[in-house]
Amino acid sequence: MTQPIIALENLTKTFRVALKPEGRSLPWARTWKTVTAVDAISLAIGRGEVVGYLGPNGAGKSTTIKMMTGILTPTAGTLRVAGRVPWRERRQHVAGIGVVFGQRNTLWWDLPVQESLDLLRHVYRVPPARFAENLTRFRALLDLDEFRFKPARDLSLGQLMRANLAAALMHDPGLLFLDEPTIGLDVVAKDRIRAFIREINRERGVTVLLTTHDLSDIEQLCERVIVIDHGRTRYDGALSELVERYGGDRALQVDFADDYAEVAVEGATLESREGRRAVFRFGRGVTAAALIGRLSERYTLADLTVREPDIEDTLRRMY
């Protein structure tokens, strides 16, 4: 990897939270507890990557993103985004990034979308020609014309997210942070947003860091995933390897051609049986081919299906 665009080293964030006083005590008497939201996370993200940042609620995803966008200062460790320390050079930093939080609108609520975009052109000092170019491109990719002259408050959630995505990219940021960009959207709206993210990554080399609970987002967009839990990195690598490494058992579903009193096969355990159908689980040490071979020696088979564990299962096992 050449010079990473995001580099975290032992990044840590702790918060002080007030505990409810127990029993009878004075109303202003409070005890404090230190909560570690992000616990010594180190990672590097290269230019042009699309990285999925996963973890259960409260794992520290948003806290990490807020530090990267300059909204939170770390308690310890170092963080550089495009060579800058985000919170120390907040204004220069935010000029080079785009941020979209799902369910949160950053456009002027009662202004037509187009006017908000025009205002952002001035705020980010985008050259007029470049702005016009971007606008044309995003109008096509996000179908902005459907609602461009309506105020943000009149848009559907899907339209609002499309408008916010356009707004986040008008100033050509090299880095885009997306915090649950497809939350609450229908399938069609989700697809459209995913297609757009793919397109701007391919076309402009925009680096994308994406948090989501919708694993289809990850499957369709990210080659690399980072999984965190309790503020620590649990996994950082290729999506395919995640399932291989943590996915647990695969399943083989067999439909027998005859009624057998007992079915068993070496290397797999019987999970369930219903009529002529049986489901076996088997680990990484056995191949499906070997199992099928053994089964067909002993029984007459009608049909077979092999099921890979999906990411959802994998994550459930990890959390």
């Binding site: 909204i71 220069q92 950053t106 009662d110």
Partner: protein, 265 residues
């Protein structure tokens, strides 16, 4: 175009969209003004001798008409935009723009104020001028001082509103602070009654506080109650407080952001 100018212009245009609210505000401000002026007229008629030397009824009536007209310009009674943005967390989006936060909000409020000048201040003054004999700046010099003082009144009021609103960085809901600030503004600015009618000792103190510059100073200049050197001193006090409150606002904001970034929203 400059970003601040663009923001002000968009905000100005936005004000013109709320026709119903503007009309309602205009009517309310006007009729409350009529009541206040009527009370003042009754007081002067009941005991003409009690009026301070040189402060005649025309000045007092002009002052009250202006006080009603300036409501929309300084917006001291009911400006919740920033309080709400802090409570709702939209402020985070503002912090992610490469622009000075005070400037961002000031520009938008200036656009709002300019719109209110045309939608409220001028119509109210015209309406009062039809009903009552008003006085205006005595000469061109007085008029120029008034314009300066009037502009500073907006800046002071905005900075004051900005200040109490950003206390929301420290509390979950800044509404309480805002109410306290509105209450204090009503009394100390000279909105209720010309400072000239206050007891001398109290008026003397109030003239040196930042609040007089938000309402009383431009009104006294307009109605010629403050003239020449006296008017210039009053404007200088406004300018002093404008700088002081601005510095305080920026420092408070910096502290607020530090709290937000260390302790979270």
């Amino acid at each position: 175009m400059n970003a601040y100018l663009a923001l002000a212009r968009a905000s100005l245009a936005r004000q013109f969209r709320y026709r119903g609210a503007n009309l309602a505000g205009l009517i309310t401000n006007f009729f409350f003004g009529v009541i206040r002026v009527s009370v003042m007229v009754a007081l002067y008629n009941a005991n003409p001798a009690a009026a301070p030397a040189g402060y005649d009824l025309a000045k007092a009536v002009t002052y009250l008409a202006c006080a009603q007209a300036i409501i929309g310009w300084v917006a001291l009674w009911g400006w919740w935009d920033l309080v709400r943005a802090l409570k709702g967390g939209e402020v985070v989006a503002d912090l992610q723009r490469p622009i000075d936060f005070f400037g961002l909000w000031a520009a938008q409020d200036f656009g709002r104020a300019i719109a209110q000048l045309f939608l409220r201040a001028i119509p109210i003054m015209l309406a009062f001028a039809l009903v009552y004999p008003l006085v205006g700046p005595a000469d061109i010099g007085q008029l120029l001082i008034f314009i300066l003082s009037f502009a500073l009144a907006w800046f002071l009021s905005f900075t004051w509103r900005f200040l109490f609103s950003i206390l929301g960085f420290w509390v979950t809901d800044g509404t309480g602070f805002a109410r306290l600030a509105i209450f204090s503004a009503t009394f100390f600015t000279g909105f209720l009654m010309p400072l000239s009618l206050f007891p001398d000792a109290l008026a003397g103190v109030l003239r040196w506080l930042p609040f007089a510059g938000m309402v009383a100073t431009p009104l006294d200049v307009f109605s010629n109650a403050l003239r020449g050197p006296e008017a210039l001193v009053a404007v200088a006090v406004q300018a002093f407080w404008a700088l002081a409150l601005y510095a305080l606002a920026q420092a408070t904001f910096t502290a607020g952001v530090r709290r937000l970034t260390t302790q979270g929203g």
